[in-house]
Point group: C2
Chain length 232, copies 2
């Protein structure tokens, strides 16, 4: 067990309320592995049930349709974790996880992970809130898929991306510029649809592509385009 490994688990949000000794005990029972960008960390057909702590890097949780279309569920950065469902319920993997950048993963055996999340009330509550957040996001996505057309789903995704950077003058920068394929896979449509919607929005003066950012020039109008259809 290296000091770096012990220190690195300090950065995992879920474990922040544990004592340094408790974290060291976990480090001793973890497996460690580095992945290059695009390498697969969890195969949805894999028989493993470990929870995977993302110590360094960034990963994407995805599924693929028969035609090979990627449907993405979540991006998780250093400090987060993945593979928690199989670790608590022992059922097969529900999705595939791929490294987006060079990534270091600490694998926590399922028994140990269950013990951690069920015997420390603060950790338990944090973990339950993370699962609740996943359910809320999935529920919103099911509603969007059930009630919005593909164009409006792209609008809704742009609103989500723009919101954190919203300024008082009703503009927002999305930086880095989002990749069409990423938006497509998050809202279950094709790259071509995303390209067409963005070029329509650009022609209407609602968004503008600059060198380092996609600028939403009229955030309120973009929100209205979604809410008119959603009925919020």
């Amino acid at each position: 067990m290296s000091e770096t490994q012990v220190a690195s688990l300090d950065r995992i949000d879920l474990l922040a309320s544990l004592t340094p000794d408790e974290r060291s005990a976990i480090v001793r029972q973890c497996g460690w592995r580095r992945y290059k960008a695009d390498e697969q960390i969890i195969d949805h057909l894999s028989e493993t049930r470990d929870a995977c702590l993302v110590v360094e890097g960034r990963v994407r949780v995805v599924m693929f349709s028969m035609s090979g279309r990627e449907i993405s569920f979540d991006d998780v950065s250093a400090g987060g974790y993945i593979g928690e469902l199989s670790a608590v319920d022992g059922e097969p993997r529900s999705a595939t996880v791929v490294a987006l950048t060079d990534t270091l993963i600490a694998f926590v055996p399922p028994r140990l992970f269950q013990e951690i999340v069920t015997t420390h009330p603060k950790v338990a509550l944090l973990f339950m809130r993370r699962l609740a957040a996943i359910i809320r996001r999935a529920t919103g996505r099911i509603m969007d898929l059930s009630t919005l057309g593909a164009n409006n789903r792209v609008h809704a995704e742009l609103v989500r991306l723009a919101k954190p950077g919203l300024k008082a003058d009703n503009t927002a920068e999305i930086s880095p510029i989002p990749v069409h394929g990423d938006i497509a896979s998050r809202v279950s449509t094709t790259r071509e649809t995303v390209a067409r919607v963005l070029s329509d929005l650009s022609r209407s003066g609602i968004v503008e592509r600059r060198s380092h950012a996609l600028v939403v020039k009229d955030y309120t109008r973009l929100v209205d385009m979604v809410e008119e259809v959603r009925g919020e």
Copy 2:
């Protein structure tokens, strides 16, 4: 506190591993209310954060689109619970809950519910597995909505309904006969689409409507119709 109330919490699966004394302590802090069929138990705009134990009856978790279309998420019977997301994360209600039959609900204040699910490891694990199951089902539904057309989603729902009653001769009875509107709201389509798909399946000899049950006469063929598209 009545003896009936104490006894009734014995039937809540989540609390089965607690001692009778621990359950009595919970009963004392619960609110109790009866609902008639079709009465609303949780409004998605409500400010309450209680977890709701379904002591008697059966309830449905739904959301409504702007056009009033019902998108249903779950039916929960006596022994189960609802409203657990707001109880653990303190966020607004994510959906509306309606009584399907006469129903008795025990309302557990959010603080107490958090204490119950975080301080008893067995209860914690059961609760986490319930949340994991909701996530897995939602993930499947997102995939179906992203990759299957409405017709195939109806086929997939019939497979889900038929599976528990599958017999060795490749037939399965679905009883009681499912209501078209219920199927429609579970797979995000219209009643008319469900009616059309069922009549197509009936003409092809794959299903047959009898007096008390919908009979799937060729289960394998129905499964194939879904899997060809899903690519499983």
